[in-house]
Subunit: 339 residues, 2 copies
DNA sequence: TTGTAGGCGTTATCAT
DNA sequence: ATGATAACGCCTACAA
């Protein structure tokens, strides 16, 4: 015996008043009789009336829905990030439409397209590893739907970004390793296309140079994040005449695979080779060999900041009717964590 | 220079035809001139027209949005589950509104309320550990908004559920442990209120009885999933005159904490005590001591099934206008995985 | 203080 | 083959 959620009209009819009277009563509008107001509120309560957000937003041309697109929710980094986004969103009566790209450009395009159709008020996205063309996202600018990138950001100026200072962070990691006696520091980087990879590489080189040592590109490998490619990278590194005494992995997941391979090769983890990584995920606490050094990237905070930025932009758009909005860029400081 | 997304009206004006003509042209309606159709489609393409899903769904009183509420997205079990939900949803042009309860009843109520305001077409939820009152969810029935529970389901008949057979699974675990020589099998269960805890306990007792041994309730502890409570549970077990030779943990996260504590107490993991668990999460591959036995619960599949069930219900509602819908209950078989 | 009317984008139903 | 109109739920300017 399903009935539909009560509407203002129904309340109006039952009370023999107009819909606008009900609307005003519910909104505590000043221009409404006290008696009417009470009767309306009472009935609304009884019927369990709830405003139809869809209708309101439809009229206002706002949905109060923010699309969030992530590569993989199962990575703790991203699940923390979306939690930060959600927390801030709830505080401001926004709601999260969820989608994953699974690190594939095609899927990313699809999800993003679906979200456009749903008329999200804004889009928060962390790019797939292969996204190097941003047309599907720049389309949003045309329609004044703000896009905020976080962590995996594009190489565009003039967009809104929340990111960590990976360059500095990587320099810090190299410094720490050098201070702790490492002389042959390797890097297992991510796909070349990613800005995040470029930043790491630059930081790595800068760090090495700062130590007045020469850069040896044999020590720089790349992975596509698959276990196979990470294994291959480790294999190459271990096969060097002069193998590394430290390995910096792109993130904690790459790190886990790198360690797994090294163990198979009887390497003594964090003895023969020091392992460093990015993200400092809580889950690494339970792993057999957490990285000796990890760069905390505060994913929850990145999510919060991204959503806060989104809300600022949306509020700005509301007032400044059509003025050009400056793009925002928030850089979250990182912390080198050791254990 | 933001413009708004083009509408049917705009196209109509530019082409000097009526809005309905444009609508029909776009929909490949038979009653429309070929020439008009082509001109409309061409312009729509040029302008990048996209139907406003909000408007359509508003008219149809459908949103094509399914609310999904989980305790903790950062648990791999739930991130896998939501991926299953998302996959099926996308295939059927549904979209996911995301929310977490953080295992708190109050937050659960809030999110669920927000989703009702957003007029989701349906709700898929895995309950918070403390939810033992279902009013906030039964409210949905009244308005014919289907609710599908998965994994953490309520103790209600007459609702739609997707779950695993935890009773049988637990019997299987106990069997396996017994076959492998364990005589003092302990259980670290979840909160009493949870149906999932009750099922485990029943299965545990059944399993022990099947071995013609007596049930010793000293071997049954409970945790609220906090590290502290799990530590305390392990502490009690290890302090027994006759300590266990096997520990079954409520899930892999509890397992990790249980192992962590046991290790501090110099227990040889999976030697002195065999550890068993539920979920068989991929992440345990990287942990120092994966459970010797784990009950695979196929979270991705549970998500898929839940969403499929939701779609069936929605389609049924579309045809059978007001007939009572039978509640569905899907039980996913589990598998004992060893390593 | 309260009612009426119009409009948001779309489509179904009539009418032309 | 095409156009005009009404309707979905809500809000708001305007009218009474």
């Amino acid at each position: 015996m399903g009935i539909q959620l009560p509407t203002i009209k129904q309340i109006a009819k039952q009370l023999n008043v107009s819909a606008s009277a009900v609307s005003r009563a519910l909104a505590d509008h000043p221009r409404i009789g006290l008696g009417t107001k009470e009767r309306v509120k009472k009935l609304a309560e009884e019927l369990g009336y709830e405003p139809n957000a869809q209708a309101i937003f439809f009229k206002q041309k706002k949905t109060h829905i923010i699309g969030v697109v992530l590569p993989f929710i199962r990575e703790e980094f991203f699940s923390q990030a979306i939690s930060g986004i959600e927390t801030v969103a709830l505080d401001h009566n926004y709601t999260i439409l969820f989608g994953q790209s699974y690190d594939e450009v095609e899927k990313e395009k699809n999800v993003v397209e679906t979200m456009k159709k749903q008329r999200v008020d804004g889009l928060i996205i962390s790019l797939s590893k292969n996204t190097n063309n941003y047309e599907h996202l720049e389309a949003f600018n045309k329609y004044k739907i703000p896009v905020v990138y976080f962590d995996r950001v594009p190489e565009l100026t003039d967009t809104n970004k929340v990111q960590t200072d990976l360059f500095k962070g990587t320099v810090d990691i190299v410094n720490w390793l050098s201070t702790n006696g490492c002389r042959r520091i390797a890097l297992i980087n991510g796909p070349e296309k990613m800005a995040a990879s470029a930043d790491r590489l630059k930081g790595y080189m800068q760090g090495i140079l700062k130590q007045k040592r020469k850069i040896d590109m044999q020590l720089v490998e790349a992975t596509d994040f698959s276990k196979e490619r990470t294994y291959a990278a480790m294999n190459s590194l271990l096969a060097l005449k002069n193998p590394p005494d430290a390995v910096i992995s792109f993130n904690d997941y790459v790190h886990m695979d790198a360690v797994q391979y090294a163990k198979q090769k009887k390497i003594k983890i964090n003895k023969d080779i020091l392992f460093a990584s990015y993200a400092n995920l809580p889950i690494t606490d339970y792993t057999s060999h957490p990285p000796r050094v990890s760069l905390e990237q505060y994913p929850f905070m990145q999510g919060e900041k991204a959503m806060q930025m989104m809300i600022e932009i949306l509020n700005q758009n509301k007032t400044d009717n059509d003025s050009k909005i400056n793009s925002k860029n928030e850089i979250i400081p990182t912390t080198v964590v050791t254990r």
